[in-house]
């Protein structure tokens, strides 16, 4: 219990620090959202209209910074993230909520798949060290993970989308589709997700494979594995229950951390495939 409470406390502290930084940093940077609006207008925004927009965006409110900060904390706690500047006048919550399912769906599923597949290949590769799988898979997968996401994505669009025309290459769904929980819609979504998912998969699987394989190799040299072999246990049982279960621990920690990054989205994949996720919104938020 105390362990959980300590962890929760530490989490809240980190959360508070992140929120505070998120409040102060943009306000310390030059420029304000009304200037970005002026840019959209190429100078036609003058006088009363501009002042009005500035009021809406909360610029020049004459409130002290501390008072603004207090309101900000209160808003964060109640989930009121305010009005979006880039997607004015939609509320931030709505904007993010519309994009999150796509990111979680694509990026989340791919991360899990990459972890499972990569770890699996690593286990088998280490078990039969020097065998066919071990000689081919880890080096190949490490090479593919060194290739930039967007290049793989573009190659896929070129080959599978345009030349062979096997799969759609733009968007999260057909532009004429409306979201509905029908088999046809879900099939359409999956179809659109295949190319981005594959591109993401082959570029991320390498790290899991390599780390798992290396951990397995050291674990296989342990005494308890030798004991299991001496006892005459079956090979799959030793491989999985004795060696892999211990070797996977570092990978598991990495996996837990990478799940956190899923929410940030895969900017490059979304950019190349025109996928409606949160990653590109992050880019726009920073740029504006």
């Amino acid at each position: 219990m105390r362990y959980l409470l300590r962890r929760a406390g530490f989490f809240l502290l980190t959360l508070w620090a992140a929120v505070t930084l998120n409040f102060f940093l943009p306000r310390m940077m030059p420029g304000n959202p009304a200037i970005a609006m002026m840019g959209k207008f190429r100078g036609r925004l003058t006088g009363p209209a501009r002042q009005s927009l500035e009021t809406i965006f909360g610029v020049n409110t004459h409130e002290s910074l501390l008072a603004q900060y207090w309101h900000y904390l209160g808003d964060m706690a109640t989930g009121n993230f305010g009005t979006s500047l880039f997607f004015f006048p939609s509320p931030v919550g709505q904007v993010v909520r519309s994009a999150i399912p796509w990111t979680l769906g694509l990026f989340g599923v791919v991360t899990i798949l990459a972890f499972i597949l990569g770890t699996g290949v690593g286990i088998v590769g280490a078990w039969r060290r020097g065998g066919v799988i071990d000689s081919v898979a880890p080096p190949l997968l490490v090479i593919t993970s060194a290739i930039p996401y967007f290049w793989v994505g573009m190659m896929f669009i070129l080959i599978f989308g345009l030349k062979l025309q096997w799969l759609p290459w733009s968007g999260g769904m057909d532009i004429t589709e409306t979201p509905a929980w029908t088999g046809e819609f879900i099939g359409n979504v999956v179809e659109h997700a295949i190319l981005p998912a594959l591109a993401l998969l082959i570029t991320t699987i390498g790290t899991w494979t390599l780390t798992m394989r290396n951990n397995m190799v050291t674990t296989l040299a342990e005494d308890y594995v030798r004991m299991a072999r001496a006892k005459g246990l079956s090979n799959p049982r030793i491989m999985l229950d004795y060696a892999a279960r211990n070797a996977v621990l570092p990978n598991l920690t990495g996996f837990a951390m990478s799940l956190g990054f899923v929410v940030g989205g895969a900017i490059l994949i979304e950019y190349v495939f025109n996928y409606p996720g949160v990653g590109y919104m992050l880019l726009q938020a920073v740029e504006n």
């Binding site: 970005a36 519309s98 733009s170 532009i175 025109n274 740029e287």
Partner: protein, 557 residues
């Protein structure tokens, strides 16, 4: 839209597409040529770099710039055509008249107009719309109430009284203000933040439905012009980057494009004999000097720069030949050729003349230093130019200019910035030179006013709305004010001639290339596109309300 991030994508895809057959179109088209009712589905390709927020509020600058609402969903009183010398045709108003020395403007409103929910539109809605702008200044982005004093309905006319004659504001009042239904907007507490996701307007199209990835417009069954629109459905997908948008056009999945496509002949026109493009110039992308800085404040230096740049070359290299070179008169030709003052142009003879540039500098007392850069009294002619890093065509244009200026002994270093940072510095006057364009308007006066009017400027450190070079000349202001009070064409031409002479002699800015309306179109399934011979509207999907006019003229084959 023009934003291209520096990837090799376009080149890669171009090379590959050159080898593969043109893709199948996935757009569904109904049977063409049916006698009754609209048919067909048109797809637009205009990359906005964002997904749709499904807000159709026609006063919101973001929505307007995307071309999603004004023109096709909401309509203005009259249509003013930039490409036909501000030719004005009726839209929601059947006619207009100036009176009492250009201080009263009366519009006669069309009868039998209904909103898409079946409610009749009357002059009351027009008066309501304008008074809504007065009540909520955040909606009045064109500042029409800076010149209006009252707007009242009188029967089926709307009478607008001006504080003083301001004839050019006709464009903003008649062409740029969407008429909204009083029975809906009078109930909205804060129209500035109103999303208006299910818009009710008089326009030819209604929204059904809008998702973050695509807007589907369907023909308005209550539309007040009989037999229009002819196209049943218009799809407007959201593109976050240029490459999918350009590829949609090349494969024929989209028929109406507003994209900047590098190497357009290889990538787009060669794919099908039905693929065409036409770029109509509307304003000038210019090198903007900060007139308050030493060295730059010397008119001889600016004139030298104007002679040192080969504008056509910049257009060829930087813009792939898709933007013509501009001229120092500041007149975008051939759109506004009728306004060009050829006499003064010939008198100054601005053109690519590096020898003359150097002669001018020497005459003004500058001497070339050992580093090849001219200097006078310790002031070296070495400057920086800020630019938007994301616009790769502008970055390329500036590198051409940089090389040409170096050849005449003026140093120019480019600083490519993120857009928001760039705009900050541009408005505040924190630059030596900048590269940007004005919005312009239906005649050259609008662009000149944006560049030259002192009230549009601001001291260094404060934000200037359009006169970023900080040009201030009371005589020029008087000229601009005198244009505003007259409707006489001869007087207007005379004033614009004098304005050109200001730009020629004072060189407050240096036009480099002409900003065009990006336009690609496919004639396989649709006809009625604007062309050079029939420029009935600015053909870009982001031009408002022109894109509404285009949709009213198009029909399936």
């Amino acid at each position: 839209m023009r934003r291209i991030i520096l990837t090799g994508a376009a080149a890669l895809l171009a090379a590959a597409l050159a080898a593969c057959s043109s893709g199948s179109s996935s757009s569904t088209n109904g049977p063409s040529g049916s006698a009754n009712g609209p048919t067909g589905t048109l797809t637009i390709s205009n990359e906005q770099g964002t997904q749709w927020n499904c807000s159709f509020n026609p006063f919101n600058p973001g929505n307007l710039g995307e071309g999603v609402t004004m023109g096709q969903v909401y309509e203005p009183l009259m249509f003013v055509n930039t490409l036909q010398n501000a030719k004005t045709t009726p839209w929601l108003a059947s006619g207009y008249a100036w009176s009492t020395g250009n201080k009263t403007l009366t519009f006669t409103i069309q009868k039998n107009v209904t909103f898409s929910d079946g409610t009749p539109m009357t002059a009351a809605d027009v008066a309501f719309t304008f008074n809504l702008l007065k009540k909520f200044p955040g909606l009045d982005v064109d500042s029409v109430w800076s010149v209006l004093s009252t707007v009242t309905q009188q029967g089926d006319t709307v009478v607008m009284q001006f504080k003083a004659p301001s004839v050019p504001y006709f464009y903003y009042i008649a062409d740029q203000i969407p008429i909204v239904p009083e029975h809906i907007w009078s109930t909205i507490k804060d129209p500035v933040t109103y999303a208006d996701s299910k818009p009710v307007g008089t326009g030819a199209y209604t929204v059904s439905p809008c998702t973050p990835q695509n807007i589907t417009y369907v023909a308005n069954p209550h539309y007040w012009q009989p037999g229009l629109p002819k196209i049943a459905k218009v799809l407007y997908p959201a593109f976050t980057s240029n490459d999918p948008a350009n590829t949609y056009l090349a494969t024929g999945q989209a028929q109406w494009g507003s994209q900047f496509i590098p190497n357009i002949d290889k990538f787009y026109t060669s794919k099908s004999s039905d693929n065409h493009y036409w770029f109509a110039p509307i304003a000038n992308v210019s090198l903007i000097p900060n007139l308050t800085k030493p060295g730059i404040g010397d008119v001889a230096v600016r004139q030298a720069i104007a002679y040192a740049i080969d504008r056509n070359k910049v257009g060829q290299v930087g813009e792939y030949g898709e933007e013509p070179g501009a001229n120092q008169n500041g007149i975008a030709t051939p759109t506004f050729s009728a306004w060009m003052d050829n006499t003064s142009a010939a008198k100054y003879g601005y053109g690519y003349n590096p020898a003359k540039a150097q002669a001018l500098l020497t005459q003004a007392g500058y001497a070339k230093g050992s580093d090849g850069i001219y200097a006078k009294g310790g002031q070296k002619l070495a400057f920086t130019v800020i630019n938007i890093g994301g616009y790769s065509d502008w970055v390329a244009s500036m590198s051409v200019v940089q090389a040409e200026l170096k050849a005449v002994g003026i140093g120019l270093t480019a600083q490519n910035l993120a857009q928001n940072d760039y705009l900050n510095r541009l408005y505040a006057g924190d630059f030596d030179f900048a590269y940007y364009a004005q919005t312009g308007g239906p005649t050259p006066y609008y662009e000149f006013r944006q560049w030259l009017y002192a009230a549009n400027s601001a001291p260094i450190g404060k934000n200037a709305s359009s006169n970023w070079e900080r040009y201030s000349n009371p005589a020029t202001d008087k000229l601009l004010d005198s244009y505003a009070i007259t409707t006489d064409s001869a007087k207007q031409h005379d004033i614009v001639n004098q304005l050109q002479q200001v730009v020629l002699s004072d060189v407050p800015y240096i036009p480099v290339t002409e900003e065009v309306g990006w336009f690609q179109y496919n004639t396989a399934k649709f006809t009625g596109w604007p062309t050079q011979d029939n420029p009935y509207a600015i053909p870009a999907a982001y031009a408002y309300p022109d894109m509404g006019q285009v949709l009213l003229h198009l029909s399936p084959k």
